[in-house]
């Protein structure tokens, strides 16, 4: 049986709250969660920050209910893109385990589905859809195994948002037939989290079948994580890391001049 995952927990600077959200997730039976850093390049002075190391968050990670294993925490970046220049896969992206894009225009949605090197495409849940989903880009995304994400926290919080969430989700399901969809929380508060079985039941309202609803919180999320890993590595086979220059410098300074390693560029 596949384990449950929630790939969207909003990042807050309030460390205590973030901890309690993750603890709640573990209690509810989620084996993996992803902390979501949103960057909106439309607003000025926004830049992609390095994610905090997850080991800073907890000394010992909370145990997942019914699994007696600690919860796994990932970092995820969501780029809100309203212009094609906003999505530039740079080194900054590599620091994150998952990369998502939230396209604001139809053109960008098409590009996100067909060309962008991302794991997740977010679907608007707080407003009417700014464009119609078309069959060809959605099918392209399914073929490239990029997943569409619907987050449910807004539906819990507010009446109007609930209508938009359900309407947009049904719009999407009409086109993608329930394939390649994940449902995640986007929670900022522990009381906004819901259990995995609640969500697979909620999927029925979104137009998913019972089977797809369960896949949306389990197997599809696993596929997203694996896709994220292959993006980081060369097809999941070779993994390269950049040598940290700051670290080597410091080591050299500590050692006396005679003992410094001689590294010269030829």
């Amino acid at each position: 049986m596949a384990v449950f995952m929630d790939l969207n927990i909003s990042y807050t600077t309030n460390k205590k709250r973030l901890q309690s959200v993750i603890e709640t997730a573990a209690q509810l039976g989620y084996s993996t969660v992803a902390i979501n850093y949103v960057v909106d390049l439309q607003q000025k002075k926004q830049e992609i920050v390095k994610p905090k190391s997850v080991s800073e968050l907890f000394k010992t990670f909370p145990i997942v209910q019914g699994k007696s294993r600690p919860i796994k925490v990932l970092n995820r970046l969501t780029v809100v893109a309203s212009e094609p220049s906003h999505f530039r896969p740079t080194v900054d992206y590599k620091a994150y385990d998952l990369v998502a894009v939230f396209p604001q225009t139809e053109k960008l949605f098409h590009a996100a589905c067909m060309t962008f090197d991302v794991d997740i495409i977010c679907v608007a849940v707080t407003e009417r859809l700014p464009f119609f989903f078309k069959r060809s880009p959605v099918n392209g995304a399914i073929e490239r195994s990029v997943f569409f994400e619907i987050s449910y926290t807004h539906a819990i919080r507010d009446h109007t948002m609930r209508r938009y969430t359900i309407a947009n989700a049904i719009n999407l399901m009409e086109i993608c037939k329930g394939k390649n969809v994940i449902v995640s929380s986007g929670a900022e508060h522990p009381l906004e989290m819901r259990g995995p079985y609640d969500i697979s039941n909620l999927g029925l309202l979104f137009g998913l079948s019972e089977e797809d609803g369960k896949a949306a919180v389990s197997t599809n999320c696993r596929a997203v994580c694996l896709h994220g890993e292959t993006r980081k590595t060369a097809l999941g086979i070779i993994h390269t890391i950049k040598k940290d220059p700051a670290l080597t410098d410091r080591v050299e300074e500590d050692a006396p001049a005679s003992k410094r390693a001689k590294i010269e560029m030829a």
């Binding site: 019914g66 007696s68 539906a155 819990i156 906004e192 989290m193 259990g195 079985y197 029925l204």
Partner: protein, 156 residues
């Protein structure tokens, strides 16, 4: 030929079961009884627990009203008007057992999922909205199944 096969099949089965019975007599059968329900249950039972931001107390009637309001919010007057019962409510632990017809299960469950605020009239004027969550612990067509939760077992 077809019929012959059937007879042979039935005979074979009887022989097989006789042999099984004899074998069972020899080596002390495990004591369990298998019951198969031909008709599916009419009801589903849910065990739920409530979580509030602050400490709250509420009576069974208030809880029922709370759920009914949630149903009405999402499904409206007609869609939300289906029968369900509050069988038991533990006011100290804030846990409850609900019974609902199978046809209403998805609606009730989704309404519980989407419940998020609890109106509490502290003063006469101000209506205080408080964040809350309904956790669905177990759902089963058999009431007996709610007596123990396999997910709360400690695994090693």
């Amino acid at each position: 030929m077809d019929r012959g096969a059937k007879v042979f099949g039935a005979l074979g089965q009887r022989l097989y079961s006789n042999r099984m019975r004899r074998a069972a007599k020899k080596e002390e059968p495990a004591t369990y009884e298998r019951l198969v329900y031909k008709n599916t249950s009419v009801y589903h039972y849910m065990s739920i627990s409530l979580e509030f931001e602050n400490e709250e107390t509420l009576s069974p009637a208030q809880l029922k009203q709370f759920i009914v309001n949630g149903l009405k919010d999402i499904y409206g007057e007609v869609g939300g008007a289906f029968p369900f019962d509050l069988l038991k409510f533990d006011e100290l632990k804030l846990t409850a057992i609900l019974r609902v017809y199978n046809s209403g299960l998805v609606k009730l469950w989704s309404a519980l999922t989407l419940l998020s605020s609890f109106d509490q009239e502290r003063c006469a004027v101000r209506v205080n909205q408080e964040r809350c969550a309904v956790r669905v612990n177990q759902v089963s067509p058999f009431l007996l199944a709610l007596s123990g939760n396999s997910r709360e077992l400690e695994l090693h």
